[in-house]
Amino acid sequence: MDTLAHTVPGNEAALPAMARPQLDLELRGIRKRYGDFTAVDGVSLKVAKGQFVCLLGPSGCGKTTSLRCIAGLEEPDDGDILIGGKEVTKDPPWERDIAMMFQDFALFPHMTVAKNVAFGLEMLKKPKAAIAERVQQVLKSFEIASLADRKPGSLSGGQRQRVALARAMITEPRILLLDEPIGALDYSLRETVMLELKLLQQRTGISFIWVTHDQNEAFSLGDLVVVMNHARIEQQGAPEEILQRPATAFVASFVQGNNVFRGRVVQAVDGLLKVETPAGSFLVPGSDCAIGSEVSFSVRAENLTDITGDHHLNRLTARCTAVEYFGSVRRHIFERPDGELLKYDQFGAHAARIAAGQATVLGWRPEDTVLHTGVAA
């Protein structure tokens, strides 16, 4: 098995050629059931040293339960958890080399900021003077030194977030687990905090496992994005891979900007499949599919065009229902012949060519079409 399968290319080069790279975290088929409900169903994951991993998925997909299993707050019914190569499946949280940041930050309300931050070091039984000094350092580096004597109740959301982060990072864990860490923040703060966290992660080399339902967070932060649905992993890979080559219909429809089609293979010629869908017949790259099998595929909204040429072999006629303008992108919403919505993104600030209500022929190249070959595992 190639343990580097999901590392970013840059990291690979930095490793000594012969050394077997150490994984910060490995999940082997973990399962967790609550009565009849399966929260996590056979999740396997490898996290290389210093990787930024985002668990992405809709609520109830099992991402938080997976995180809690890694933290030791839940014990999986099945499967193994290894942290730094050491099996910890049955170990309690306080014996694991992790720290965790909770969605509502979970600061201790009866302790000052300084006491909150010192807590982890006190648990490690460090000498008092060393703790005090380190706390001062950390408070300074997180720009919360002026809050040292305040209680969490009197802090703003952004300040609490910093305190929670400082408290988790001070113990220098191997892995930091973050459960929707910026979900409780004001929208205006999020982008700044995201950038700060990314820089912090790169500087410290601590692996981050970040749970979120927000794909913008996942794609802009993660080295590895793990898309989950119904307790399983649908796809894991670099952000580009997931955006450009969604492996399942769920990933394609969950990720913004994809148009998903479902149909039946009717012909296979020269590495192209002809797929019949309720919206028409389209050519899709692929060869391993039997005639008559049900498949799904997708095309990204920016890969469509309304100025069709000879190579835009896939075409359909649709009526534009709305145009949304985002500054760098003009998104057109069309109604497909089969009643589904079709998204067409035009980049650049040039004038609108298509107005709402207008019927247009849209085309795209077969090679821009992605056949979904993955199965949720």
Binding site: M100, A106, T171
Partner: protein, 289 residues
Amino acid sequence: MSTIRVRSAASYWLAVPAAAWMLGVVVVPIVLLGWVSLWGGRSFSPASPLTFDNYSKFFANKTYLQLALSTVTHTVMLMAVTGVVGYAIAYFMTMKVRHPAWRLVLFLAFVVPFWTSTLIRGIAWVPFLGVNGVINQALMITGATRSPIEAFLYSRFGISMAQVSLYTMMAAGPVIYMLNNIAPQLREAAMTLKAPPFVVFWRIVFPLTLPGVVIGQVLVFLNVMADFATVATVGGNKHAMLPNLVLLFYEGSQHRAASVVAVLLMACMLIGVIAAMKVVDIRRLGADR
């Protein structure tokens, strides 16, 4: 919906009935008690001016002082027992019992006895603790003892048994409330910061429930200090606490002495409550959250 502004005349008028009631049944009688305790004679007259003689007489009597001391030590002992047992019950009910149905059953089991008056519940201990009582019979049947143990009833032990059962839930109630208010993430956060369970309890859970502990202790303190009924019924006439002394003097028409003891008892209680308020600012309960 109309609201009443805090400083409007209506809001003051709304307070009048309660204030009048409190004035009539609490403030005036207390002032009267204080006044009577200072009388120089059997009734108030210009010939016998107000004096502290009654108090001097009380403090000159070693037996009374010993009684006062034993009332306080007994109360402190009971606070300790109900505090520990009550906290254990509260912790068990909120942290260990996960199933809602079981929680309800346990809650009812603890609360239903309170539908009976304190006096009845106190007296109910008599057939338990007596020479032919349930406990002694059980001990004799199992062969743990040959002859019944007389020390159970009409003893300090019996009084304590009864009072622990009467007042433990007073200590537990406020703690249950505080425990329910502790977000589970706080304990989880402590665990992920390498705190083993006992440290989580000592550093996180206990400090956050401290106001509840103090309120419970105040309730137990006030009730035990004032409890003459249990002492009289389960303790027989062999044992007495300060409130029983009030009753004794009153029945003997020694109104001045009764007032003196009553005033001293109230003073003790007041000091206790003030001390408790010093430990935890009860008015700021839960304000940190």
